[in-house]
Amino acid sequence: MNGIHDMGGMHGMGPIRHEENEPVFHEKWEGRIYAINRAIGAWKKWNIDAGRHAIELIPPADYLRMSYYEKWLARNVALLVKHGLVTQEEIDTGKPAPGSQKATPPFTVANLAPTAAQRPSYARPSADAKARFQVGDRVRARKINPAGHTRLPRYARGREGVIDRHHGIFVFPDTNAQFLGEQPQHLYSVRFQAQELWGESASPRDAVYLDLWDSYLDHA
């Protein structure tokens, strides 16, 4: 979606505020909501892409005003209700519905240090997907404007680049976020010259690299 989250190349956002000796969490609740996010994800009712999309759905003015973890709080409440882990009434009252069964949490202390064998991965190396490009190919990012989730930022759409690296086959976020399946595709690192993206005023030496899926690209 062409949302405020897609902010690469925008002006007017102000100076970068670098904080010396910044704590990991500025307030206790930030750590709690971060941890809750990890723990409820283990119910596997949604996926990482749907989680990102839930933040993108926060209206632009609110997105810019809310702190980072306020957005996580809003996202988590929305996902919990949408996917039926809690009801809106339970959120409103703060109490479990009368007679509801107590569940057993899937995320425990042991889950925090997964062994190599159970390490999550977004790669799908054995999926049946064709690579339309190889390293060195000139490509153009498609001009697409999907209303749903996508990882092709606006600033790269319609721009020409070169395939720099082939990462393998990965879950496709655009469909995964909508629960339309993983539909794995080849993923590439694509080099775009800064001047191709931003015009003559950019440095002729500089470049931006984006990780883009096969269907985001056409041969240039």
Partner: protein, 237 residues
């Protein structure tokens, strides 16, 4: 959303987002107002709402409070930029390790015991006198947690996310990093599940330092690419 095909339309989303266990902070009639644009009153106290949410989830058996404690403890005390600094120092003193790290970062980083969420697919990019790498996530906040911990606020904020790709030299100047015109800058926008770590240049005058001393010089900022490592830079972020 205009076509209503989204799994969660905006108005529903913001209603849900604005309610919550401390919903008393938001008068009900605020939700009823139907402006042409979406309108949300941010609840006054996210701390209260988070606390209420946690106790509801614990009561329903959806989360284990001990696991929440462990997550917070892990990211406050165990996983952070010291991990990445050890990777960088090892690469500086051990050419064979550096070769493995640049060829396939995941296994090389795991050799030092670091792996886990948001580090599943790692790529390390090397700075040289003629090449400087900078990492950003313009769309959200992607960051290599196992080696750098959770990102600082500036990394997740609009000013950095918006400008890193269009004006990397200006951004670097804001961090006090001045690069000569003939240095190429590569900005890595983390649009997929690949996570990037910058291998900064080893500063001159550190030839006699031990691996551990070198790790002490490496800052978080240098591994994101907004700063260089100084021979006396220990203790800085």
């Amino acid at each position: 959303m205009a076509d209503g095909s989204e799994p969660l339309d905006r108005r529903k989303f913001l209603k849900r987002a604005a309610t919550g266990a401390a919903a008393a902070a938001v008068p009900a009639d605020m939700h009823a107002q139907d402006h042409e644009h979406d309108h949300q009153v941010v609840p006054s106290d996210p701390a209260l709402r988070t606390k209420a949410l946690e106790s509801l989830l614990v009561e329903k058996g959806l989360v284990d409070p001990a696991a929440l404690d462990a997550v917070v403890d892990t990211y406050e005390n165990k996983i952070g930029p010291r991990n990445g600094a050890r990777v960088v120092a090892r690469a500086w003193v051990d050419p064979a390790y550096k070769k493995r790290l640049l060829a396939d970062a995941g296994p090389a980083i795991a050799e030092l015991g670091y792996s886990g969420a948001q580090g599943e697919h790692m790529v390390v990019v090397e700075n040289t006198p003629k090449l400087h790498n900078l990492v950003v996530c313009t769309l959200c906040s992607c960051y290599p947690w196992p080696v750098l911990g959770l990102p600082p606020v500036w990394y997740k904020s609009a000013p950095y996310r918006s400008r890193a790709v269009i004006d990397p030299r200006g951004v670097l100047r804001e961090f006090g990093t001045e690069l000569a015109e003939d240095v190429e800058i590569r900005v890595w926008d983390s649009t997929a599940e690949i996570r990037y770590l910058v291998l900064p240049e080893r500063p001159a005058g550190t030839e006699r330092m031990t691996e551990e001393e070198l790790a002490g010089l490496v800052t978080r900022d240098s591994m994101v690419g907004v700063a260089k490592v100084a021979a006396t830079g220990g203790g800085k972020p």
